[in-house]
Symmetry: C2
Subunit: 325 residues, 2 copies
Amino acid sequence: MLLDALHCRNKKRPPIWLMRQAGRYLPEYRALREGRTLLDMFHDPKTIVEVTKLPLDILQVDAAILFSDILTVFDGLGIRYDFQEGVGPVVQDSPDRIEMQDPHVAYVNVIEAIEQLKEELEVPLLGFAGAPFTVASYLIEGGSSRDLKKTKQWLFRDPEGFTKLLDQITVATIEYLNCQVRAGVDAIQLFDSWANALSIYEFRTYCLEPMRKIMKAVDHPTLLFCRGSSLFAPELAKLQPAAISVDWSGDLLAIRDQIPRSIALQGNLDPMLLYASKEKIAEGADRLLFGMKDDPGFIFNLGHGLLPDIPVENVKFLVDHVRRS
Amino acid sequence: MLLDALHCRNKKRPPIWLMRQAGRYLPEYRALREGRTLLDMFHDPKTIVEVTKLPLDILQVDAAILFSDILTVFDGLGIRYDFQEGVGPVVQDSPDRIEMQDPHVAYVNVIEAIEQLKEELEVPLLGFAGAPFTVASYLIEGGSSRDLKKTKQWLFRDPEGFTKLLDQITVATIEYLNCQVRAGVDAIQLFDSWANALSIYEFRTYCLEPMRKIMKAVDHPTLLFCRGSSLFAPELAKLQPAAISVDWSGDLLAIRDQIPRSIALQGNLDPMLLYASKEKIAEGADRLLFGMKDDPGFIFNLGHGLLPDIPVENVKFLVDHVRRS
């Protein structure tokens, strides 16, 4: 059903999966994390398989997405990183420490996990990677940042140097994604989570161009997500991806009118609506379901990832509600 | 010149002023702040006058904007607040502590400062206030917040209670702005700085409606700013403000095509571009100047406020560049 929608030929109800569907909001996930580091978990094929499959039984979603992180591409760039409790991602090396690694060694755990998942899964498996601009921002800022100031200072002051860094990350990302494709993922999603820090002019140069290079080198159905996609969707459409994954800001129906019908649209419920009553959740979901009714390229999703303290029962309710539509 | 542009009948070069033009990036401002609290400064008419006038001589901008803060409306709501070094705004009372004050007492310092400024200034003076949604968010979160989670939880779970809070803030804001208008400001700008946390549906209810009430009750040329305005500009245009102040995300020329020619457009250079070389700054400014050439309703500004560590000489260069255009 998801693959049909990705090809804009789905005749049934819209497929649904949720960004961060395997995450801390699930008690089963919290139990698996107990006493272990995230870095550990992302490098253990058995854990990757287990966590990727977790939400399938619990939620009955229509797709699995690889349990991984935007930062895992650093394994192929020789950059050290970690995830610190209460802090988030921490990147320990600076951009000048990039040393390209053999991707088949760097990503061996992910490859192994995908191969095993493909033997076991009954729904499509999405691979993913961070888009180069967002990955670069983690490397430059040393972690998450509110305004990407260092990153933007660099790109405004030294566009050539910044482009060179993006190129290095792009090469590694292509290798990483091709490893995922060869191991069997059915489609890939690129996350340019911090693209909304840029104006449309810088977006074109520093987000769109690296994504274009990746799509040229990785021949596989691709979903493009960025924060800011409510505004930037027509830009993303220029790359002719299989789908655009839209943040929660805009009216998806109005965005549909700006995007060729050959491109699927995924989105775009505000995850924070899942703190509300079931009645409110149904109302928000129905607005999307009604607006996108009979659209053969509509994939139901959130506009951003699930948050750790969202009640599981509300998430289940949403998925049930869409499945019954 | 600014007032002509606000009425979309400017025949000369575009007027320019900059959000946070009187701020920490100016050594003269930092000297004035030495040994004093911000709260103190916002309540001293002499300081308000002095700081408001600071950038006029230094930068030669075409408008002054009242030295004040989004939080000063709390004086009329009986809510205590402060500004903590390295932390930012801190609101000490919760929403249930609102007690409406006599506006002529609460805002006496601001009124006095405006009256004096109007005697001394040779350029138009802009008054301003936070828009109710943004003010409510400070009250609910207790200060700045990355994702406005508490605010959004409240509005999703208890829309009626949240609307009641917005109504209280709206009443105080109307009183505050009418004090400013009677004291002599030439136009007012409403800042809905955190509007971009909302989807277009909630934006319509919780941002647009309070602004509509304010514009109905305050009969004076009004500029509407929100982060997210690159996407929400057509929504803001429904209120028929004098001008829409656009964030740095979008292409101002493309936005012009969506907005009636009777509404002025202000914006929208990315303030972080001011970290770059003069050549880059000129390039960014020229794109706007060329794109909006001969538009009688164009006001040159940034897409957000100046940052404390932006080099003064780059700010001066920008203003000179626009003035020579």
